[in-house]
């Protein structure tokens, strides 16, 4: 028989354990997200970038948004009655992907292949894409990565639309405003669906220039889409290198698209030029020799390579694959990857930006950190934004017409390819060193450990826009927030009946 003292001790221990378990369960359950709207994110911490909410008059003056009425994201569309110049039907299926040169994997296809069909349009065209989900059980969407589409066509499940269920359809309409290289991918359970192939390339050719394949600045124009299928590095869906036949002295424009989850390197032992980044031309690009170009996850780089007088030149794209340019019967040995990286901060010649970043209406910090915690009942070492953990992260509020400056700081040990939907941002400085080359316009920007970038953009596309890391598992682990235009709301929710899970 235990002593009275021992019984008392056991009672104290029991009470303490029950209290601790109860408190722990309560704390854990309070992290469960359930169904939520992005309108409620960052609750109590609305960040207005130095403005008082509703104080800006630019939104009212624009006539698009503001005043007394609120606008739903569904109303932010392209001209409804304009007929489409390019019409495409894309059908998503959950099935085995054939990987020529490698082994097949289970994934997702678009019109029976992965990558899906390349969409080509001309600047100014109205593009209409009829998306059909034939068999993707989690539902799917299409996001137009890098294209500044109207918000209703942004394709983010739970924010701009519901995930398209099996048997459902959704029509995306947008004007192809900026010529360049882009891609489309699902933004529903994106870390899974993008990795497993629900994607394809988009090329917008400049208006008033010869039609594809040459766009006037090059003789041959090819897409080099990098993607990893079940650990197999592929180029345009094939686990093998490609040859591009080109006359000696002619220029080949290689549109490299990094659809993977991490930085990709591009290099050659011959000279090349980087003529565009993320769909924006570089002003007066010089020849690059002995340097590599590093492309962020989700980013694009258009590289112009001159075919040699004799034989062929090898352009390494993404470390594992190459494109041989020139004589189709010749080959060229691989070259080691240069350790020196082309600095796009000082590449090309300066040109007017078209707006004045010095007179910013809003100034924001986007400081990336990391700490242990619980998100949605799941313990882990999660990413934080300005010290706050998802879903309590800051929302960046803007009004239409605002000039917005943002300082992106990476206080973690991992690189983060930061991607803002619906806008292009210009890099002003890195670690206090001002940009001195061509305006460096991006929609996907690698921010390396310890780096600090200052960027700016014009808030000229009303809506609710995700601003997240494109290493998509990082977005799952909390590295996602939104740029919210005043007066814009969304009727869609995440984790609700529609099963929306954008990350």
């Amino acid at each position: 028989m235990p002593s009275r003292r021992e019984l008392f001790r056991r009672a104290v221990i029991g009470t303490a354990v029950i209290t601790a378990v109860g408190a722990g369960t309560l704390a854990w359950s309070s992290t469960l997200l359930g169904e939520y709207s992005v309108m409620d994110m960052g609750d109590g911490h609305a960040d207005h970038g130095g403005h008082e909410a509703g104080a800006s008059e630019t939104s009212v003056a624009s006539g698009t948004v503001g005043g007394s009425g609120e606008v739903s994201v569904t109303a932010l569309t392209a001209e409804a009655d304009r007929p489409a110049d390019v019409h495409v039907e894309l059908v998503a299926r959950q099935e085995t992907i054939d990987v020529p040169g490698g082994r097949p994997i289970e994934g997702y296809t678009v019109n029976g292949t992965s990558p899906g069909p390349e969409i080509r349009a001309r600047q100014g065209d109205l593009v209409e894409v009829e998306f059909v989900n034939e068999s993707v059980t989690d539902g799917a969407t299409l996001h137009w990565h890098g294209i500044d589409v109207p918000n209703a066509a942004d394709g983010v499940a739970g924010i701009t639309q519901d995930a398209v269920p099996v048997g459902g359809r959704f029509t995306y309409r947008f004007e192809a405003t900026d010529a360049g290289t882009y891609w489309y991918h699902s933004h529903q359970v994106s870390h899974e669906q993008v990795e497993r192939g629900l994607l394809g390339a988009v090329v917008i050719e400049p208006a008033g220039q010869p039609a594809s394949p040459a766009d006037g600045t090059s003789d041959v124009d090819v897409v080099a889409m990098l993607h990893l299928y079940g650990g197999q590095h592929t180029l345009n869906g094939r686990a093998k290198d490609e040859h591009v036949a080109a006359e000696p002295g002619s220029t080949v424009r290689v549109r490299v698209v990094n659809t993977d989850q991490g930085t990709a390197a591009v290099w050659s032992d011959g000279p090349f030029r980087v003529v565009a980044t993320d769909g924006h031309d570089v002003n007066q690009p010089s020849e690059v020799e002995g340097q590599r170009v590093l492309m962020p996850a989700g980013g694009r780089a258009d590289v112009a390579v001159r075919a040699p007088e004799h034989g062929t030149v090898r352009l390494h794209v993404g470390g594992a694959r190459s494109i041989l340019i020139g004589d189709p019967d010749a080959t060229a040995p691989p070259s080691p990857q240069p350790s020196e990286t082309l600095d796009l901060l000082a590449y090309g010649a300066p040109a007017p930006l078209g707006f004045d970043p010095a007179s910013a209406d809003r100034t924001y910090d986007y400081v990336i950190g990391r700490r242990f915690g619980i998100i949605d009942g799941r313990p882990g070492n999660f990413w934080t934004i300005n010290g706050r953990m998802f879903p309590d992260v800051p929302m960046f509020h803007v009004a239409e017409g605002d000039v917005v400056r943002m300082r992106i700081v990476n206080d973690t040990g991992d690189v983060h390819p930061m991607h803002l939907h619906g806008h292009h941002v210009v890099v002003l400085s890195r670690d206090g060193v001002a940009a001195s080359g061509s305006p460096w316009w991006v929609d996907s920007l690698d921010v390396r450990p310890g780096e600090s970038y200052e960027i700016a953009f014009v808030a000229d596309n009303p809506g609710i826009w995700s601003d997240h890391c494109h290493t998509l598992s990082h977005a799952v682990d909390g590295l996602v927030t939104h740029v919210m235009y005043e007066g814009v709301t969304t009727p869609f929710t995440i984790n609700g009946a529609a099963g929306n899970q954008p990350e």
Binding site: L228, G262, A320, G380, G413, D414, G450, S473
Partner: protein
Amino acid sequence: MRRIYSVIAWVIAGGVVVQAASIGFAFGGVLNHVQEGGVVDKALIESDQSGFTGQLGFWIHEIGGGVVIPLAAVALLVVSFFVRARGARLWAAIVLGLVALQATLGYAITDVPYIGLIHGANALAVLAASVIAALRVGRMARTRVEEATSDAVAA
């Protein structure tokens, strides 16, 4: 309670062994993959899809070092407050401190590879501290059981 304390400490010690084994397996897989013509790049590292033999080792190392061992170390410290044994709290605190340091170092390796030198050495410190904690309290638990048994016989 001493037995629970001792078991948790042994779990941490065993966890360190699993960590060493899994990372050895993982890097063996990397070397094999490269030898067979494969390429290891950021795309492969960030991918959830299996690319080569040994990739499971990285996953085990991440879950073991980022979740299982830290939670066990916290549990050890909590349990130590209910254990009447000299040094139980001190050694639980030492284990937790070393584990916290180890996890912090681990997450910083990608940025500063030299930290790997300390990360590998500190693993042995975690192992030693958890074994000492387990043995000290475990021995007391055994002694107490033996005393109780001999008392019963004498009675």
